[in-house]
Structure formats: C-alpha cells, structure tokens
C-alpha cells in the first residue's frame, strides 16, 4: 500500500514535471529554426510550423499531447522522425553502461575512502581526503574529462579518446563520472562513520571483546550506511546529470546527449520524454533506496 501511494505520488510528480516542461518549451522555443538552415526564407518556416502542429494554440496542443499519451504514444522526434520511445530505448542502455559502473566505482571508492578517513580521523589521509573531496567537487566534470583525455590518450597513448567499443573505452568516462560523486560519497561516509563511531553501541561492541573488524564493519558500517543510502539516491541523480556532460566529452552515445540535443534544438517530444525518463529513473532510484532502507533499518519497517 505504501508502494501504491508512493507510485501515485510519483506519477503525479511526473505529470507535473511533464506539464511544466510542455508549457515552458512551447512558450519559449521554436524548433523550426533548428530544423532548417538559417538561409531558409520565413514562409518555409511558417509552413513547417504548421506541419509540426505548432501553430495551434497551446491548450489544444496540450490536449492533443495528453490524448496521445493516454494511447501510449509519446510522439516522435522532429528531427529523426522516429518515435521518441524508440530513440530512448536505444540510448538508455548506453547511459546505464556508463552510469552503473560509475555508480559502483564511486560507491566503492567513496565507501573505502570515507571509512578509512573516519577510522583515521585527523590523520594525514583524512585531511587530504577532506581537501580532495572539496577540490574534486569544485572541478567541473568536463574539465576532468578533457584533462584525462589529454593525459591518458594524447600524452600516454594508453586509452582511446572516446566513443564506445572495447573495455578500454569505458575507463576514462567511467572514472570521470565516478570522480565527482565519489568525492561526495566519501565525504558523507566519513561524516556518518564519525558519527557512528561516537555512538555508545560501538563502544559497547568493543566492550564485548569483539575484533576491530567486526566492530567496524558489522556494528559501524551497517549503521553508517543508512544515511549514506538516502544520499545515494540523490547521488544517482547527480550521476545522471553528470552523464549528460560526460557523454558529450567522450562522444558516448547515451541518453544524456539525446536530451541535450533535444533541449538545444527544441525537439519537444524528445525533450519531454527525456525529462520524463530521467525523472522516472531518479524517482525509481529513490524508491529503491527507500526499499533498501527499509530492509537495512529495522526501525523503519514497522512505520
């Protein structure tokens, strides 16, 4: 039941997002400028607008769109003339190929780094990590991306500069994507772990004569991971957003670039669906987090 109400609310959220995007795009943009070269005369543009159904008043357009949605038709791209669902389904796996390993990597690095820093609170490692996290968060993704290309690809000739293909193609974009969020995760794990370390149950666990590993991993991490988990849902959103930029840098044919293109060219149907997909993904990620939270934290379960 919890899920039904959650799902309803999510659906409502998505509808709201869709509506806002719908009106915002249509009130401010005209895709025909992007559909034809600048050299085309104005009459052609008007003809094209009519063809795309953009000359009707916006309420009519909205109703038409809503009606199509009810039929499960999300429209087609102005540019490729293909159903947007199809376009996205082609791209989403690519984005997942990038974001999922990046997410795993980021969590792994973040977890280990944060844990170690917390355990060695105020050590050199801890201080460097804290500084590094702030610095990492400060350097834009694309700078990291291009810099890694120049270093590993141009100078060292170790890795390809972009595109998909072999496993080597994954390394740079995944690392680029992971770096930004792993700094965040590490910082968070550190903070949470420090808090947990100060808890009575940690001392109590030690007073039972348990080994340090058991104390830290079983009693500490299991508690520290909980707040981290909540943030991880949000991190996923950040990752998706980061993917938009990273995909552009590494010529990665993912959904992020599709959406950027859609924004830039006012490809309405594509943009609407894109934002829908991203939002749904993030909402879903947060839902997963909630479920995981429930599984990991018995205190939540009964509520």
């Amino acid at each position: 039941m919890f899920f039904i109400s959650r799902a309803l609310r999510s659906a409502l959220t998505l509808w709201a997002i869709l509506t806002i995007v719908f009106f915002a795009t249509r009130l401010t943009g005209d895709p025909t400028g992007f559909l034809m070269p600048p050299e085309m005369p104005e009459a052609q543009r008007i003809e094209l607008r009519a063809k795309l159904g953009l000359n009707d008043d916006i309420a009519t357009q909205y109703l038409r769109y809503g009606e199509a949605l009810l039929r499960g038709d999300f429209g087609q791209s102005f540019f490729s003339k293909r159903p947007v669902v199809e376009l996205f389904m082609e791209r989403v796996p690519n984005t997942l190929l990038l974001t999922v390993p990046a997410f795993v990597l980021s969590v792994a690095i973040g977890l280990c780094g944060g844990l170690w820093a917390a355990l060695r609170h105020n050590s050199l490692f801890d201080r460097s990590l804290t500084t590094a996290t702030v610095v990492m968060q400060a350097i834009p993704n694309f700078v990291v991306g291009i810099a890694t290309i120049l270093i590993f690809s141009l100078s060292l000739r170790l890795l390809p500069s972009g595109g998909m293909g072999t496993w080597k193609h994954f390394i740079l974009p995944v690392i680029t994507l992971a770096l930004a969020t792993c700094a965040n995760t590490a910082h968070l794990v550190r903070t949470c772990m420090l808090e947990v370390l100060a808890q009575d149950y940690m001392r109590y666990a030690r007073s039972k004569g348990l080994s340090p590993a058991v104390v830290v991993l079983k009693h500490g991490l299991r508690n520290a991971i909980l707040p981290v988990l909540t943030i991880m849902g949000l991190q996923f959103g950040g990752l998706v957003a980061g993917a938009v930029v990273t995909e552009s840098v590494f010529a990665w044919p993912g959904a992020g670039r599709l959406v950027i293109d859609a924004v830039m060219k006012r490809d309405f149907a594509l943009l609407q669906f894109g934002i829908l997909v991203f939002s749904a993904a993030i909402i879903f990620a947060n839902l997963l987090v909630d479920v995981a939270y429930g599984l990991l934290d018995p205190r939540i379960r009964e509520r």
């Binding site: 100060a198 001392r203 058991v214 508690n223 018995p298």
Partner: protein, 338 residues
C-alpha cells in the same frame, strides 16, 4: 569471610579533551573489588563514574580523551598495558559491562539474538546454532517472556526493561567474574527497577561474580551494596562499608546527599522543604586547587581553598575532607532516615 581481590585500580587518571579544554574526568582514583562482592560507585551526574568504568576497560576513545595515568590490575595483569589481543579475551568474557543507556548501547540494526550470540561465538567459539540456543537460554534466564521469538526482535521492539535485561543477558552470557553495571536502572520505572535489582542480586548469588555497580541513587545503594565509593568531581571523596556510609557519613557531601533525599515517610505537616545541597555541580574543566566541594560546602574553611584534601582512612572508612572530624562531631549522629 575471606575474600580475595579481583580487581585493583590504582591512581587512575582520565582526561577528556574537547574544544581546547581539558576535562579531568577521573582524578587519582584507587579502589579494589573483592571476588563476589558488590561495590557501588555513587556520585552525581558528570562526577566521572562512567569515565572510571570506561577507563578500567580501556574504552576511552582516543579521539576524546586518554587514560593518563594509573594501573588497572586484574589477575596480576595491568589491563591498560596488555596487548589488544589479550584485552579482547578478557573484555566481554571475564569482565563484562552493562551500559548506562540500553537504547543507545544496543546496535539498532542487529537483532537481540545476534548481539548475544556474537559474544558467545567470540569467546566460547560456539557454533552458530549452539550460540543461538544459549542466547535463548540467557533470555529465559533474565526473565524475558517468549524468549525464542524475542531473539529475532530488534532492540527498538523491546520495552526499556526488556532492553536492559537483554544487556544483562549479553553481559552474563560468558559468566564473567566481574560485572560493571553503569546505572543499569536509572532509566527504568520503579517496578521494573526492582525487578532488575532482584535479578542482578539473584544472578550474583548464583554465579559468584563481583559487581561494580554505578548509580547516583542512594536508595539503590542501600538496597544492594557491600561497599560504597562516593565520587565527586572526578575523585573518590568517601569510601566505606555500606553501613558506615549510611550510618556514619563523614564527608559533608555524602551527608548532604543523604539528607536531601525526600523520604517516603517524612515531610508531613509543617514544612515540606528538603534540605538541599546548595549550588551546582562543578565544571571538571575548571577546577580550583582546593577541595572541589568547597563552593557548596557549608563547613568550608579558608584552608579548604589552598590545597586538595587527601584521602584519609580510618577503620576501612576513607574520606577526603580536612575537617571531617570536626564536622562529624558538631553534627552528632545524623538522624536516621526512615
């Protein structure tokens, strides 16, 4: 009655460091615990009772403070200087501790069963199944109804009293020689408190373990103690047999405490006013040189401010006050509190 010494604490000194201040939480504390006896450590909040307990087990987090000096002799070994590995074989096994707040001390994400079994598996090398069986037996033992089901409950699913009993079950599962109980009944209702006290007493009689019982409640002390240590501002200010403390308190602080208690059968008629100990507990980060009770002491004299009083022992009854003789004489026998 011949008793042998189980634990001996010598000149223990523990400081906390926070926000650039040094909190002298435990200052030169010495005492010993005999096998099978009950020693009560009394003192108001912040007087360093818990700090003493944690120092004994070497559980002061490095990030917060240090055991600065002292020895904790247990079976000829100094618990503060033995290896970590050796320490772990003693903690939870030969010396167990019950924490002040069971709600905070039990790990919220592990079941009670897990938390009991964990100790058994660590110290007694039981199989998982055996540990679980023993865990259930322990829960039964401490009087938790429906123990089998409760094994799989999480701490938050238990009532306060049950949580405290679960802690006791954990502490007793390896049959320790010494149990340090840090205010185990403070957070509990009167009826549950009496259940727990009864339980501890019973278990102690069964297993012959020694009990270091920390509390701020003198009536609890009256109920269970053999020997009493009164702590004030990080120091032991009075030590003696329970009868000595209750019948013939020497330290003005102890006297004040005893007098300040509302009696169930007192205070009818004219004045219901209690005789309060004036003032507030001291700040352990800013102690003056002299007697730390001086600001609240109605018998304070000028020389109390100059040097700290030493612990004076007469007939196994020690007191840290320079003027105790005069004070006791002047007051005569304290009126019996009934």
């Amino acid at each position: 009655m011949k008793q042998s010494e189980l634990l001996r604490v010598e000149n223990l000194r523990t400081y906390f460091y926070s926000q650039g201040r040094t909190v002298r939480a435990v200052e030169d504390v010495s005492f010993s615990v005999q096998q099978g006896s009950t020693v009560c450590l009394v003192g108001e909040s912040g007087s360093g009772k818990s700090a003493t307990a944690f120092s004994i087990l070497n559980l002061i987090p490095k990030s917060m403070g240090r055991v600065v000096a002292g020895k904790v002799l247990y079976g000829g070994e100094d618990l503060l200087r033995i290896s970590q590995r050796r320490q772990r074989t003693i903690l939870g096994n030969e010396i167990a501790m019950i924490f002040q707040e069971p709600a905070a001390a039990l790990n919220p994400v592990c079941t009670v069963g897990e938390q009991i079994a964990e100790v058994l598996r660590t110290h007694k090398q039981c199989s998982a199944r055996e540990a679980r069986r023993q865990a259930k037996a322990m829960l039964d033992r401490v009087g938790i109804p429906d123990a089998q089901r409760r094994l799989d409950d999480y701490p938050h699913q238990l009532s306060g009293g049950m949580r405290q009993r679960a802690m006791i079950a954990i502490a007793l599962s390896c049959r320790p020689k010494l149990l340090i109980a840090d205010e185990p009944t403070t957070a509990l209702d009167a009826t549950v408190q009496s259940q727990i006290l009864g339980l501890l007493h019973e278990l102690q009689a069964d297993t012959g373990m020694a009990l270091l019982f920390i509390t701020h409640d003198l009536s609890v002390v009256a109920e269970i103690a053999d020997r009493v240590l009164v702590m004030y501002a990080g120091r032991i200010v009075e030590e003696g047999d329970v009868m000595q403390i209750f019948d013939d308190p020497w330290m003005p602080y102890t006297r004040g405490l005893l007098k300040a208690r509302p009696g169930l059968h007192s205070g009818d008629g004219s004045s219901r006013r209690l005789s309060a100990v004036p003032g507030d507990p001291p700040d352990l980060a800013n102690l003056s040189i002299g007697c730390s009770f001086r600001p609240r002491c109605c018998h304070a004299a000028a020389d109390c401010a100059y040097r700290p009083p030493d612990l004076e022992t007469v007939r196994g009854h020690s007191v840290r006050c320079m003027h105790w003789r005069q004070i006791v004489e002047a007051a005569g026998e304290p009126e019996a509190v009934l």
